[in-house]
């Protein structure tokens, strides 16, 4: 079942199979759909064995960085005598991304099962599900599902009768994009400002409350029970492109497109087919112009480039962009790229945590320059300044928010320079379609 549109036959609905099915939300409904089969078995399995299955499956982090999940788990030293923590990153705030929201809204128990397995696999007795504060509906659904799971003994002091403790709590965010960065998320759980921390130490050594911690994205964790049920080979076989990218991936599609929504395809799927067939192409009478394929933090590419892309981590990199979180933002030929990129820069300026100089000052400056260009008061030197500023803001800060502000902007200027120059020379206004 798809949501909000019915699943397309070319999709591979594994995580999204029950999107739109309200009965899948309850414990009973979820068990009837095959849920909680993997967990009891997993709790009887050696954690390292689970780590190895997940390693073997090739599952990579779905939050944006694409780090191999099993490898990340293996950094946790089982039996070191310290309390371990699992943090589920449900702070989904990357513009263009809304897949975790649907996972939590429709299949909360899938996430709980994934979290519980992961907690066991890393030797954690406590899992915090950090959900962004705006997600009031997913929070309510998750709380309800957690209460059910606790009452049924799936989690808690004696999870599934295994004798193992897995406590799981929702921690509600309060409006900060940066809390999706794993160390900022941990600070936020600790009751601090959501400032990213300097690494090292890495979370597996010193994470939340100074203890060994793993942070995984919602989609990553939700895939885990399927891998345990069906085997690493089954998961690894889902691959149409580079063998380093396996499994199914949820792509959120938004912006100027006929059928926005979530689509689950196998890694390496043709982006062209995805855009025109699954998503229904551009809105009537319009043409696709530009695409930011992995959430707003990745470089923008032209539709001509996009049509050649194979949808996996390596496929997007070939065209100078990234798969990121899988949030596909589409602009059609009616949109002004300078205006949209200025708006994106403003997002980053608003969300900068204020720690690093380059980010705090740079994102705001970048926004002011872009907004001035859009207002018709730009100069050619401004474009040079933006590139130099981006250089200054890239690779020099604690986290990558600063880099993320520059990436879409400079890639956008490179690819759509004409639109910027038109505004600078006064030939066009930003509100008129440029094409």
């Amino acid at each position: 079942m798809g949501y909000p549109y019915k699943s397309h036959p070319r999709e591979t609905p594994i995580l999204s199979k029950y999107f739109g099915d309200p009965e899948a939300r309850t414990l009973e409904g979820w068990q009837a759909r095959g849920g909680y089969r993997a967990l009891p078995q997993a709790l009887d399995t050696d954690p390292v064995a689970i780590q190895n299955i997940v390693k073997e499956s090739g599952l990579r982090g779905r939050g944006g960085a694409g780090f191999p999940c099993g490898l990340k788990w293996s950094f946790m030293k089982i039996g070191d005598g310290k309390p371990h923590y699992l943090c589920c990153n449900a702070d989904e705030s990357e513009p263009g991304t809304f897949k975790d929201r649907e996972i939590m809204r429709w299949t909360p128990h899938a996430l709980i099962e994934g979290c519980a397995i992961a907690a066991h696999a890393i030797g954690a007795e406590t899992c915090y599900i950090y959900i962004r504060g705006e997600f009031t509906e997913p929070i309510a659904i998750m709380e309800q599902a957690l209460a059910e799971a606790r009452a049924a003994g799936m989690i808690g002091a004696n999870a599934c009768g295994s004798g193992k403790t897995i406590n799981m709590w929702v921690h509600r965010g309060a409006g900060a994009y940066i809390c999706g960065e794993e160390t900022a998320l941990m600070n936020s759980i600790e009751g601090r400002r959501g400032n990213p921390r300097i690494k090292p130490p890495f979370p597996a050594v010193s994470g939340v409350f100074g203890m060994p911690t793993t942070v995984n994205n919602v989609e990553t964790l939700t895939a885990v029970p399927h891998i345990l049920n069906n085997g690493a080979e089954w998961y690894k076989a889902m691959c149409l492109g580079n063998p380093k990218s396996t499994g199914s991936k949820l792509f959120s599609v938004c912006g100027n497109v006929a059928r926005p929504g979530n689509y689950e395809v196998v890694m390496g799927f043709s982006f062209k087919e995805f855009l025109y067939d699954l998503c229904g192409g551009p809105p009537p009478g319009r043409k696709f112009k530009a695409i930011i394929p992995g959430g707003s933090s990745v470089p923008v590419i032209t539709i001509e480039e996009a049509e050649q892309v194979k949808m996996d981590y390596e496929g997007f990199m070939e065209f100078g962009t990234m798969l990121g979180s899988g949030g596909v933002i589409i602009f059609d030929d009616a949109q002004s790229m300078p205006k949209q990129l200025a708006r994106l820069a403003r997002f980053y300026a608003h969300e900068s945590c204020a720690q690093c100089t380059q980010c705090r000052e740079g994102t705001a400056w970048m926004t002011k320059i872009l907004e001035r260009i859009v207002a018709g008061h730009g100069t050619f030197e401004d474009l040079d300044t933006i590139f130099e500023l981006t250089e200054n803001m890239t690779g020099k800060t604690i986290c990558v928010l600063s880099d993320s502000c520059g990436a879409p902007v400079t890639s956008g200027i490179t690819r759509f320079r004409g639109e910027f120059e038109a505004l600078i020379t006064g030939r066009r206004s930003s509100t008129v379609a440029v094409g």
């Binding site: 809304f98 009751g191 601090r192």
Partner: protein
């Protein structure tokens, strides 16, 4: 101690920490429901400080906003200073530092919604609520409208929040109907 304003590079503002005449009524009084709720939440974490975000949510549910006096109370309850609490409150945009209208309307205007006409939705809300300007509360105290950064429902442009209700796929045409529901 006198000090010249000019030397300081600007006017010297006296701290505007007003004291209210009415006696302060604590949120987390012993035996109260909010206190019980907080104590339950605190049992989930190894430190008291970790209860800060949840405590602030409880405050906002109870009082509608987070005053400087409440910050002090929360600090006292959790063993933190008011300044520390303030640093945290002001970091997170969902905590109100001032009273807002009965219905607090947040409209997403980040790019994904922007290119789908979110700015027109904002305009419609501003006009129809009588707020006129972003961040101002309507004369009847009912509405405050603000633009908000990405609400994470980009495929359902334009998502808005009215208090704790999340409403997606809002278009200009739907604004009046939504406001009828929240009146």
């Amino acid at each position: 101690m006198s000090h010249g304003a000019s030397a300081a590079g600007g006017a010297v503002a006296k701290p505007t920490h007003g004291h209210h005449d009415e006696p302060y009524v604590p949120v987390f009084a012993a035996g109260s429901a909010p206190r019980a709720k907080l104590d339950d939440i605190l049992s989930r974490y190894p430190t008291k400080q970790a209860g800060l975000l949840p405590a602030l949510w409880i405050v906002q549910d109870e009082r509608g906003w987070i005053s400087e006096q409440v910050m002090k109370e929360v600090g006292d309850v959790l063993g933190l200073t008011a300044a520390y609490v303030k640093g945290v409150v002001t970091f997170y945009t969902m905590y109100h530092q001032h009273p807002v209208g009965k219905f607090f309307i947040q409209v997403c205007t980040t790019s994904c919604c922007n290119c789908m006409g979110a700015e027109d939705v904002v305009k419609a809300f501003l006009e129809k609520t009588g707020c006129g300007e972003l961040g101002l509360t309507s004369a009847d105290g009912k509405y405050t409208v603000i633009e908000v950064e990405c609400l994470g429902a980009c495929g359902f442009a334009t998502p808005i929040m009215v208090n704790n209700d999340f409403i997606d796929s809002v278009s200009v045409e739907k604004v009046s109907e939504i406001l009828r529901k929240y009146s």
